[in-house]
Symmetry: C2
């Protein structure tokens, strides 16, 4: 998959491994992330497949750079992939996996996990909204943006904003549920052991899968 992401970036402009590394390192171009240790071998693989070629360029600071660009064959392969049918849009989330066993997590711990996620989601959301602001200012509404190549990135930013808002909403809902439950428990079950599954009640969730 990283190979495809690299081809997309090279379709816009020639880049060196180091440039790509910077793109994939921090806030990540389009939510994708990669390590430098993966980028250089991947570029070699793309080169062997004749999807990219490179030329050496002098660098202003540091050793000479190997600048990669798409070959005609590379652009063709990229477009073929982009156009191919897409299946399986499942999203695995460690947070959700953990919350599934919410009853096994000490309540205070669970609440702090959710608060932390909520906080980082809020931050990511405001970063994304800021990015959207500058893109809209620069290019106008995505429907009208004159620069064809900016429509995709604009839509990706919109995607992230909607996804982050949904996650934030869920985290708040979960925290609300847990708070209410704690309040009820402390009132009704003073010192009583936590309620067990009623005998004979089959586990509904077992039959969902």
């Amino acid at each position: 998959m990283l190979g495809r992401a690299i081809l997309e970036l090279l379709a816009r402009e020639p880049l060196s491994g180091y440039d790509l590394k910077k793109r994939f390192a921090s806030s990540l171009a389009f939510g994708w992330h990669a390590y430098d240790s993966q980028i250089y071998p991947e570029l070699k693989r793309l080169e062997r497949a004749e999807l990219v070629s490179w030329t050496t360029e002098e660098s202003s600071a540091g050793p000479p750079r190997r600048v990669y660009r798409l070959t005609a064959h590379g652009l063709e392969a990229l477009i073929a992939w982009l156009s191919s049918p897409l299946e399986d849009v499942r999203q695995k989330s460690e947070l959700v996996l953990r919350v599934w066993a919410a009853d096994l997590i000490p309540p205070a711990r669970l609440e702090s996990l959710l608060s932390t996620v909520g906080e980082s989601t809020r931050e990511a959301l405001s970063r994304m909204e800021h990015i959207r602001g500058s893109l809209l200012e620069r290019y106008g509404q995505p429907e009208l943006a004159a620069d064809e190549s900016q429509v995709g990135p604009l839509l990706c930013v919109e995607h992230d904003i909607l996804a982050l808002r949904a996650r934030l909403e869920w985290v708040q809902q979960a925290l609300r549920v847990l708070t209410v439950r704690r309040a009820i428990h402390s009132r009704t079950a003073k010192g009583k052991p936590s309620p067990k599954r009623p005998a004979g009640s089959s586990n509904v969730v077992s039959s969902l899968g």
Copy 2:
């Protein structure tokens, strides 16, 4: 990660490899998916780590089953993981990766990709809403549900519903944007080549990462 998911399931009730395989195969317990080829080796790994143990049970149909259960140490390890700090909630999505290069996809292809995703999202959403319906019917509001062990699954279903709604909303927005752009193009640019990036305008997106 699969090991953790297995421990969570075994914390509720003893299960055989075959049971786990069924849970992970189709609609997936809590959005997680796994292949049988992965489950049996993973059970051996958990056994070596003394997190699970097994006993043989006669099966009503077919060969005897090896039924696994958590050890005390396994429950301890599970709770330790559940309580540990959680970082990195990044979500990689092939769909978003493709849309980033929307301008390279033939418009009709892109629209059919998005429509397909929209349709399968709608289906998943109605499945999830149905599941939520039966859970609420059975256990009542998550705040009040008497069965402690069902709160997590209820919250997971809520999560999926919010996430699916957000995705659907985005897909519809994207389709709207593309439709409007197509309409404008066909009116203003009869036969004209598609507009190129204005010379000298640096790519904003490059500087976002």
